[in-house]
Amino acid sequence: MITLERVTKIYPGSKVPAVDNVELQVPEGEICVLIGSSGCGKTTLMRMMNRLIPITSGTIRIGDKDITGMDVIELRRSIGYAIQQIGLFPHMTVLDNIATVPKLLGWDKPRIERRVDELLELVNLDPGVFRSRFPRELSGGQAQRIGVARAMAADPPVMLMDEPFGAIDPINREVLQDEFLKIQAKLKKTIVFVTHDIHEAVKMGEKIALLDAGRLIQYGTPEDLLTRPKNRFVKDFVGADRALKRLDLLKVKDAMRVNPVHCFDNDPGEKVLEQMIENDLNYLLVTDRESKLKGYVNLVDLRGHNGEVGDVVHPMRITVTTDRNLKEALSKMLTYDIGIVVAVDEDGRLAGVLNTRTLFSVVGETYDERGGRWGKIPANGSIL
């Protein structure tokens, strides 16, 4: 846990504080995003945490240790540090770059090499290929991955990241963010992450701290900032399209109608048809007994068919998985011009359905500033 108490920074010769009385707590194992426009003090605040910038007043504690009392070199070696322009050492190979802190800590060679390979695999780069490359032989995305791997080299519990995905094209940035979140889900580091991109903040942060002119304006979950902006400034900062940003934030599983009406592939066709007519359904989802999604059937297929439903099932090509965000689901609906998309879990089991109406109600429901609930829509279950 990182605790900031009344942290203030006044640069020599300046009357206005660059960071003004900031109180903040980053819980263990969470990503806290510091965000604000340039010059708001977010980078200054982060750089005070490893004392690259001396604190004017206030205290910063990592765990229960006041960092001012610690040996500054030791402190920095215990904190992972990844910066904007990547900052890889151009004269060192990937191996030497990643090994920077382990070498400073005096690890032996086999241990360093094992750790480097482990990290390269973690960031999805083949150690055999990349170990001996130089930074100039890497693409932007690869360099960023190495930057992240280097920050994690000595397995520090705390990491500081200053726009680590800043210099990357939007598509690769998404990929890197996803990968990083996956890694973080496993490693559970306490991370302070600086960005000026609200999308990135909403995506990466478990907590977001919005700063302006050195002051902490609002600190809370992304949900809080989007649905309960404290004041006009926050509202403007998160943008008029904050409802759309929630599409990034919410997962399919948050919005879908769970356990939708369906039938099994070995159900008798005529009975299912009967029920469909009675309930005024034009088509129906089909799963097997293990609830693996098989596809769908429609009225026309079932009419006059007297076998199992499974014989006439149409495969379902467009589905989403429950852990994707709503933006992706909506994008699929728009791309394929479908009003409804079926959600499956990782094993292809039917999890729920999402249609434009549920989607809009979810986003719309919480649009208002009081913050509404987007609770799940009641279950329906098997039709028979």
């Binding site: 750089r47 490893n50 690259l52 070199i73 030791e74 402190l75 920095r76 070696r77 215990s78 540090y81 910066i83 904007q84 322009q85 990547i86 900052g87 890889l88 050492f89 151009p90 004269h91 060192m92 190979t93 920077t100 802190v101 400073l104 130089f134 930074p135 100039r136 280097r150 500081l160």
Partner: protein
């Protein structure tokens, strides 16, 4: 043709003078590297000193070499070395300072601050940042300064014959005095070839020493 004849007839002496020349230059350059590089590094910590040091080194550069040798005679005769190899070496060391100091200073100053920040932020001491990051990254520019100094020293070293330091300058001056063209040509040619060869060799050494990661 006459030059060739001269060369063949006096091959032993040519080799001797070349060795003498090379020796004076080598000693000077080694001393210049071991003074210039540390001074260049030191002044990156102290802007004021940097201005003064670069200014002085610049002034030394502008003193004509003949004049410098002349100044050296009364100064060094106090120690009994008014003429000969010692004043030659002192002069060459002084001349070499500017390219070496200036390049060292500029190269270290020019290392991307983001990279220094990364090093510092990961817990390198100031000393480690300097020797693990800044100097290795500055090496090729420092080397360029050394190469300029070496080639320049080989040229100026010829003039040192004037104060009795020997070397290939001996042939040039003697040749002028005796209007002996083959002698002048031999001396001048040998100096030129030496400069080219040494520069080439330093290029190879530079390639070995500078990280492959820094090649464009």
């Amino acid at each position: 043709m006459e030059t060739w004849q001269f060369l063949v007839q006096n091959s032993h002496e040519v080799l001797l003078l070349t060795a003498q020349h090379a020796w004076v230059v080598a000693v000077s350059v080694v001393i210049a590297i071991f003074t210039g590089v540390p001074i260049g590094i030191w002044i990156t910590f102290n802007e004021k000193a940097a201005d003064i040091v670069l200014y002085i080194a610049g002034i030394i550069m502008t003193i004509p070499s003949i004049a410098l040798f002349g100044i050296m005679i009364p100064l060094l005769s106090v120690f009994g070395h008014g003429i000969g190899v010692v004043p030659a070496i002192v002069a060459l060391v002084l001349y070499s300072q500017l390219p070496i100091i200036r390049n060292t200073y500029a190269a270290i100053k020019n290392v991307d601050p983001n990279i220094i920040d990364a090093g510092t932020g990961m817990g390198m001491t100031r000393f480690q940042v300097l020797f693990k990051v800044q100097v290795p990254m500055a090496l090729s520019v420092i080397f360029a300064g050394v190469r300029v100094a070496v080639v320049m020293s080989i040229g100026i070293g010829a003039i040192a014959a004037y104060i009795g330091a020997g070397g290939l300058g001996h042939y040039i001056f003697m040749g002028i005095n005796q209007t002996n063209d083959p002698m002048i040509h031999t001396g001048a040619l040998a100096v030129a070839i030496m400069a080219i060869v040494v520069d080439y060799v330093f290029g190879i050494i530079e390639n070995r020493l500078v990280s492959k990661g820094l090649r464009a």
